[in-house]
């Protein structure tokens, strides 16, 4: 399954390499987002996942010849800009929520924020 490692001067960085990095970061992000108790830490996981997705999009945009050249050549980049925007908005709101939760409940431990209404 694992391809043999070629010599250094023959090795070229391909789409698969980027996808591997992206998959690893995404997986770590998932683990952090699911496993952490602290709301801010969960947010860190989510940001890592978004980063990984950005990397995937950019890698595809760079390597793919699926699009015809004349038709929106850098659509991936534009898409990443939107992802960044949404990430910024999400971070602002989520952190405001974390602060609010802390003020109301004196904790940011998500396991202990178990009432639907507080």
């Amino acid at each position: 399954m694992i391809p043999e490692i070629p010599a250094l001067d023959e090795l070229s960085v391909t789409l698969a390499h980027y996808l591997l990095v992206s998959g690893a970061v995404f997986g770590i992000g998932v683990v952090i987002a699911l496993a952490k108790r602290n709301a801010v830490a969960v947010l860190m996981g989510v940001e890592l996942m978004l980063n990984a997705v950005n990397l995937t999009i950019l890698a595809f945009s760079r390597f793919s010849s699926a699009f015809p050249a004349g038709d929106a050549p850098l659509a991936g980049h534009a898409f990443v800009v939107f992802v960044l925007t949404v990430a910024a908005a999400e971070a602002a709101v989520a952190l405001a929520l974390a602060v609010l939760v802390y003020r109301r409940r004196e904790t940011v431990d998500l396991d202990r924020v178990n009432l639907l209404r507080w």
Partner: protein, 178 residues
């Protein structure tokens, strides 16, 4: 593309990114986790650079390393010392399994698929020389609606963040709303 310098850059940057992402999970202290997160963001920006996406890389530094991390720092500072651990909840085993599963799945697909037909360098020479004007044309041309919606979203998020953390009992709302 295949020059050793490029390869080295890719290896170092991806190493930094993945390792520090892992350290975000491992670190016991939330502030350490935050520091590693910033390192991961910076490594990711470097990876973007290797993909000739200079605009996105700089936007990444500006937004993630510059702004979101500062926002997180403020959020951490606004919570007391006791809440600054980076402990895991009961779901750590399922989470690890899930994360490993997703990463494995992506890796499997990445390795098994024959990307040859999708990895031409056709766009390389033509469009990656100056990315900024192209992105600008796209954002204000083809995707202008999405662009406007994104700006409205940002504005609403800003207002929402301010309103959420505002003291309704007449206190001042300084500090946390950035």
């Amino acid at each position: 593309m295949d020059s050793p310098a490029f390869l080295l850059a890719f290896l170092i940057l991806s190493g930094i990114t993945v390792t520090s992402a892992l350290l975000v999970f491992v670190a016991r202290n939330l502030m350490h986790a935050l520091a590693f997160l910033v390192l991961s963001f910076l490594g990711m920006a470097g990876l973007f650079m290797t993909l000739s996406a200079d605009f996105i890389a700089i936007a990444q530094i500006l937004i993630y390393a510059g702004s979101i991390s500062v926002l997180m720092v403020f959020a951490v500072m606004l919570t007391p010392l006791a809440s600054r651990d980076n402990g895991n909840s009961l779901y750590v085993i399922p989470a690890l399994m899930g994360g490993a599963g997703i990463a494995g799945l992506v890796s499997l697909v990445a390795i098994e698929t024959d990307w040859a037909e999708h990895s031409g360098d056709a766009l390389k020479a033509a469009d990656f020389e100056r990315t900024v004007p192209v992105i600008g044309d796209l954002l204000l041309g083809r995707y202008v609606l999405a662009f406007e919606v994104a700006s409205v979203l940002l504005f609403i998020a800003l207002l929402g963040a301010i309103l959420l953390v505002q003291d309704r009992d007449g206190g001042d709302a300084t500090g946390e709303a950035q």
